[in-house]
């Protein structure tokens, strides 16, 4: 009787406890996208992926894996953001303000990820392809967060200065002065 009388209240309570809001993000990617990047540096880096599956209390025995991966990072500058306002020409002398360097791509080729060692106890299953890929994703994410420490952007700017300077020399300029746009870096 009590249950019938309070059915509405109980139902609402159940709904309240069971509802789990999940934000679904709509992902849209353009199939073809225009770019204007001058890639000036490539860093080839290696990383060891070390994992131990021992966090679940009811799984007995060791299950360890050691993988290695090689990643290629490319950085450069946006060539189209150079406008006439950023260039000062006086006869054969030129002063140019380049945009700051940015990371263009991170690439980890499938053949550059290798399982070096695996240790499995009798009761444990070997790492599946999906699990190995998930570990590689974790390594990829760690790599993305450590980019700033590598100094790739500074090297990209140095190389961009060199390339543009050489190019302008070929175009006949005698005195070339290149700096990096301070206002843009402040905005970023």
């Amino acid at each position: 009787m009590f249950l019938i009388k309070n059915a509405g209240f109980l139902l609402l309570t159940l709904l309240f406890f069971s509802c789990n809001k999940k934000d679904r993000q709509l992902q849209q990617i353009l199939a073809l996208q225009q770019m204007n990047d001058l890639a000036t540096v490539e860093y080839v880096i290696t990383k060891i992926i070390r994992a131990n599956d021992n966090k679940t209390w009811y799984k007995f025995g060791d299950r360890k894996i050691l993988m290695s991966c090689k990643a290629t990072l490319i950085a450069g500058i946006d060539l189209v953001s150079i406008t006439r306002e950023q260039v000062m020409i006086e006869k054969r002398n030129i002063q140019l303000s380049l945009p700051h360097a940015k990371l263009i791509s991170i690439s980890i080729k499938p053949e550059d990820i290798a399982v070096e060692y695996q240790e499995l106890d009798m009761l444990r299953q070997p790492f599946s392809a999906e699990e190995r890929n998930e570990l590689a994703i974790l390594a990829e994410n760690q790599l993305k967060t450590s980019i700033a420490e590598l100094g790739i952007l500074q090297t990209a700017e140095t190389n961009a200065t060199l390339f543009v300077s050489n190019f302008l020399t070929r175009l006949g300029y005698k005195k070339i002065n290149i700096n990096f746009d301070q206002s843009k870096s402040l905005k970023d």
């Binding site: 073809l32 204007n36 001058l38 880096i45 030129i94 791509s105 053949e111 990820i113």
Partner: protein
Amino acid sequence: MRKRLNWFMILILLILAGIYLMQRVHLLPSLSDIFKSQPVEIDNSILLIKEINSLAQLITITAYNEITIDSTKKGWSLFNNPLIPSLLNIPNIKKPDEKLILIGRGRILAGINLAKLTQSDLFVKNDSVSVIIPSAEILQVILNPSGFEIFEERGNWTDDEVKAVKIKLREKLVATALRQNILQKATDRVVLIMEHFLKAMGFKKVTLILQT
């Protein structure tokens, strides 16, 4: 009696609400979490810079694609003819086919390699410039681990076998981009960017010749 039952139900509801609130503020682990397999984490190992190479690549177009690929390893059966075990009234001992279905999302960067530009490719006269542009090429194919989704994995697939399937998927990705005419689109964009850059450098007349 009825009043006691009501109190009892309210007490149960209060206890449930209390458990729920304690779980929300992480004072109590949820029941499903106790038996949930914990995710495997990796150690934060150091990054070793192996090479630093100078580049001069003008990337003008990116093609995003999503490709599916599947691979099957044939199983085996003790009897070639499936009728034999039924005739002999014995079980048909066999290993089923092993299947791997991958979905790969990748990026292809195309443009020109400006490092190929030689002194003879540039001709300057007063405020006019003429440049012979190298032909567009695929500069990078990016297919990272985060771009892969293993849709189905049946059986035991070794690291080398999975790698081979992933490489095949990458080849398919490049072929799709080439079918989308990525190189022509990259060339068209190179012309625009180079013209914009050279005009910004003070040249009034810019002639761009595409290398064949």
